[in-house]
């Protein structure tokens, strides 16, 4: 590991101006991804700006009934927060599906969104990787594809984004609040992560030096139920092969008034299933309708050799969760306040 200087920022503004003044600087939050990548030689910062102690460690209710989650709120605390459990079970479950108890105690909202891919070639500095070394090539393209993308990938990068939380935030129409050298701006969580295209170096739309300040989650649609399900190779403490976040609200007559569906583990970013959502909205929620809608969404999938299983896995997860939530069954979540 390369030696580095260290500072503990007192305010978000100070963190941002320090970053701008120091080439080679990185923000440090829980460190569970950054320190790991520094040990691997993937990240080689010259200066760390510790943002874990910034006064961004609270969950606040917004005037419209939503929540504002500070960037330094720990994953375990957010998952346990009573308002999150009551209004957004999908977010609590997604957080609890990630990592381990110890890691969730350290991991923060901001760091979770910005964690890097678990592509093994990205983590191995002895092999080419366009994300790590732009222009060097993609070792995964002709390597092991099992954990790679089936949607939205390019010849330059086939990696997936590993966050569970980000998938729930995309389905919840959350917004990411940023502070940068040029001021504040807000980006929808569903548009925060990018597809790789010919520039896989960029995971997100974050500009250099921008700090995540908070994430806002709008109030749940009336009568909404939500849930997160994750398929993985062991029952716990493993990244998703495929996962799905669903938010569903139905009208009196049983037709779909609001539906949001997002997949994890399938693409370079959480995959918001807009095609499926359009087909489902306004229609009666039958198993056939769910299958048809999910099928239409996944028609865009281009599995690589060795990961076609992800498409059928995602299909069954989504259809199962949609129907379970529709029935308000055991697999869904507690009925919401109307």
């Amino acid at each position: 590991m390369k030696p580095f200087t260290y500072e503990r920022a007192a305010t978000p503004e100070q963190a941002v101006s320090s970053y701008a003044a120091r080439p080679g600087a990185r923000y440090l939050a829980g460190g569970t991804n950054l320190v790991d990548l520094m040990k691997l030689g993937v990240e080689r910062p010259e200066h760390l700006i510790d943002v874990s102690g910034l006064p961004l460690d609270r969950v606040e209710h917004t005037v419209d009934g939503g929540l504002r989650v500070g960037a330094a709120v720990r994953n375990s605390d957010l998952a346990a927060h009573p308002a999150v459990r009551r209004d957004h079970p999908v977010l609590s479950q997604a957080l609890l599906a990630g990592a381990s108890g110890q890691l969730r105690n350290a991991a923060t909202t901001g760091g979770n969104l910005l964690q890097r891919t678990r592509c093994p070639y990205f983590q191995d500095t002895s092999v080419p990787c366009n994300k790590r070394e732009p222009g060097s090539g993609c070792s995964a393209l002709h390597g092991s594809h099992r954990d790679m993308a089936v949607l939205g990938h390019s010849d330059d990068c086939v990696a997936t984004h590993p966050s569970d939380m980000a998938v729930a935030l995309a389905a919840l129409d959350a917004e990411v609040e940023l502070l940068g050298p040029e001021g504040r701006r807000t980006v929808p969580a569903a548009d925060f992560h990018r597809l790789p295209g010919d520039d896989p170096h960029q995971d997100t739309v974050l500009r250099p030096g921008e700090l995540i300040v908070s994430v806002t989650v709008p109030p749940p649609p009336a009568g909404a139920r939500s849930a997160y399900r994750k398929a993985r190779e062991r029952a716990s403490y493993a990244f998703a092969l495929a996962s799905v976040a669903v938010v569903l609200a139905r009208a009196q007559d049983g037709t779909v008034r609001h539906v949001a569906l997002a997949f994890g583990g399938l693409a370079h970013r959480p995959w918001r299933a807009r095609t499926a959502e359009e087909l489902l909205t306004g229609a009666p929620l039958t198993t056939e309708a769910c299958s048809r809608a999910v099928e239409a969404e996944l028609a865009a999938a281009r599995p690589l050799s060795g990961n076609a299983f992800k498409v059928s896995l995602a299909r069954s997860l989504a259809v199962h969760m949609l129907t379970a939530l529709a029935e308000g069954g055991a697999d869904g979540t507690s009925p919401q306040r109307a």
């Binding site: 320190v35 209710h61 609890l96 403490y237």
Partner: protein, 244 residues
């Protein structure tokens, strides 16, 4: 905005209670700027004793504990957050010490396996100090083979029981259900909550039984504090002092 509530159900506070510092961060920490130095002096309060060292910024808390303070009870398995062998309690919360830079923990109160048994001494050092109930239960249940993962399992279990006490749910907690305290933890809950600790020897079945014994006892005495006994580890009141 209105009705601000804490992001942090501290093991000492009921969920949703107000005001707490960022998790794992000592209240005493001031903003610092060692912008030109590659190392920093720092004080760690480990098992009740203050240690001041100057540490290279690259040093993990795990390496400082083992190599600088001679506390080799905490083990290094993977060094990448994947095994849990390095689990310690920081301000009462369980964390992987291999992924914590020591410099970030200046002023922190840390409990390692050596501190579980007694407040101001090493376990069994003078023969008089009682073991932590979890240590007792691990012995009774034969919850290890080689023992390498055991310090991490013990610290993790202490932290896990404090989390259950504070109402933390897990992935297997039914979504609408009120979180139970330690006594209500099913084996499925214990397995899920302890999944961050791997055991190459496969002692899982007995580990779950040992944790179950202690979780049940916590509920039985009604106080909920017996997981902490005389140590400053994971005892709900401990984190509370820090939070206020």
């Amino acid at each position: 905005m209105e009705n601000a509530s804490s992001a942090r159900p501290n093991p000492a506070d009921p969920p949703g209670a107000t005001a707490a510092p960022a998790a794992g961060r000592p209240t005493s920490q001031a903003p610092t700027n060692s912008a030109t130095s590659l190392e920093s002096p720092l004080t760690l309060l480990v098992n009740g004793t203050a240690h001041t060292v100057t540490a290279d910024h690259r040093a993990s808390l795990l390496d400082v504990l083992r190599e600088r303070l001679g506390l080799t009870g905490t083990k290094k398995g993977c060094d990448h957050g994947q095994c849990g062998a390095c689990t310690v309690l920081v301000e009462g919360r369980r964390l992987n010490s291999c992924l914590l830079l020591a410099v970030t923990q200046d002023g922190a109160r840390i409990t390692t396996v050596e501190g579980l048994a007694g407040q101001d001494g090493l376990a069994g050092q003078d023969g008089a100090r009682a073991s932590h109930p979890l240590q007792e239960a691990f012995r009774n249940r034969d919850a290890f083979q080689c023992g390498y993962c055991t310090p991490g399992q013990l610290c993790s279990a202490v932290g896990m029981l404090a989390e259950a006490e504070a109402g933390f749910p897990s992935y297997v907690t039914p979504p609408g259900a009120e979180p139970t305290g330690p006594a209500g933890l099913s084996r499925a809950e214990i397995r899920e909550r302890m999944s961050g600790n791997l055991c190459r020897c496969g002692a899982y079945v007995h580990i779950v039984e040992a944790v179950e014994d202690v979780a049940g006892a916590v509920g039985a005495d009604g106080t909920g504090t017996s997981t902490g006994t005389s140590t400053d580890a994971g005892r709900p009141a401990d984190a509370g002092e820090v939070a206020r």
